[in-house]
Assembly symmetry: C2
Homo-oligomer: 283 residues x 2
């Protein structure tokens, strides 16, 4: 495979969970991603579902903890799980915070001098990675969907809203729904995008919903009621629902009693999310 | 709860995955274990299924990677997953090897001077831990089963064979079936039990099968054909099957094409194992 090195390969639920590394042109560093190939690829091309992880994660968290492969096998979907930021690019302070720099790319293209050369996760996720996946694996390129968790749940919604028609469906676990109005988002957007908050609106799902005029993004959101980041007002799902209501965008928000922000929450509801995407990907 | 400190508590698949720490009298150190309480405990007492992990693991691996809670909820079983050795007891060299000392207790009671005070995992698993669990959680004490992986898969079989009738069923993923005949086992048994190999036979499933005269242990074993430790002759499943055949012990060994030694393999077949145990635990 051009430009891809296989890092690992494990059989799971009848398919193959692989990790590849490659030299990213957008991020100017070596990146890893996980890809699960269901048994259905032996018979032909299949749809692909992208997963975007949250703060501090690498490609490993989703692969090893979500239990998603079982349902990707059942529905015949390829799953792709990239890393959450450039790695080891040598920017001063890149490893100082859990919520900024390494592991915290926030799926934006940075404009600030220090970060703009490498921190281009938005272009990586919406252009470079899909091109790489479609060139090297048996995907049906016009059948793709996207989902994610926390920072990545919001990233998934933003990628869909900024690219009408690119993804058939979107879902999120506990997304950071309105980053221009929470502490995590303000820190990250100020750092990557500068102090002009007008630029921030280009990467905020609530702001983008008001400008969106593509096909319905078919959004499913699960949010744990016992999530401490919900109590801390980092997630703000009410703002997302308000924007969906105001713009008549279809959304299902499920508030899940007793669940927190962890992969235990994700594992519990991953079956429902994959079923949601399969409905649109296989229609 | 007497003697128990709650370390964490996450809702998953409708139940609660908790981790507790406690001061172990057998091991003379602070130990942690995971316990999953299915929703069924709200209505009364339920059977309990013990999981013994493999080399290098703590209580976390099984909890976060096996996906077992889904099936424990379905069948109404408590799952208990202890750590794999004493921790931080200050024995010189305890952290030097991945396959001896910390993370590698091998579920034996050590007799060698240096290790015998703390390395009593066999007594911990078969006496102290069940007593603690039954005193503090809504178990049905005479309905318990045991399973595990690699070192812990063998540990599960040994605990059952040495305690006829204690466990209603036993299963194992890629057990180190005949430790007196493989490199891992020889190193561990020499270290914990000394150079007299007669003492080793008390903790080897193949040797114990020939002495066993209790009720059938109802053994299910899954083994990946692409497991590199199978090729390295650390696991020796043929020796286990030979001993089961010679002693007319019921056993089902499934050689799984393409699967390795990882938790991906475990996650794929955990549903079958829990169903196996539920059949006997709820009969």
């Amino acid at each position: 495979m051009v430009n891809l090195q296989e890092v690992s390969n494990n059989k799971v639920f009848g398919g193959q969970q692989k990790v590849f590394s490659h030299q990213s042109t957008e991020l100017k560093c070596t990146m890893k991603f996980g890809i699960f190939l269901p048994p259905a690829v032996e018979k032909g091309k299949v749809p692909v579902l992208y997963w975007l992880s949250g703060l501090t994660c690498t490609e490993q968290n989703f692969i090893s903890k979500a239990g998603a492969q079982k349902y990707a096998t059942e529905h015949g979907l390829i799953l792709v799980a990239p890393d959450t930021s450039p790695r080891g690019v040598g920017i001063e302070g890149e490893d100082d915070s859990y919520d900024f720099g390494s592991g915290a790319g926030f799926y934006v293209d940075a404009t600030q001098e220090k970060w703009k050369t490498n921190y281009r996760m938005y272009s990586y996720i919406t252009k470079e990675l899909p091109a790489l996946i479609n060139a090297n694996f048996p995907t049906i390129p016009d059948r793709q969907s996207i989902f994610g968790h926390s920072m990545g749940g919001h990233g998934a919604i933003v990628c869909a809203l900024k690219n009408p028609g690119m993804f058939r469906s979107v879902s999120a676990f506990a997304p950071i729904s309105n980053p221009t109005h929470c502490a995590w988002g303000k820190k990250a957007f100020a750092g990557y995008l500068g102090t002009d908050t007008k630029a921030w609106e280009e990467y905020d799902s609530v702001c983008l919903l008001h400008k969106y005029n593509g096909p319905p993004i078919e959004l499913l959101v699960d949010q744990g009621k016992a999530d401490n980041f919900l109590a801390d007002k980092q997630l703000l799902p009410d703002n997302l629902i308000e924007a969906c209501t105001a713009t008549k965008s279809p959304v299902v928000l499920r508030m899940q009693e007793g669940y927190d922000h962890s992969y235990f929450f994700i594992a519990t509801f991953i079956e429902d999310h994959i079923k949601h995407h399969a409905k649109f990907l296989k229609a």
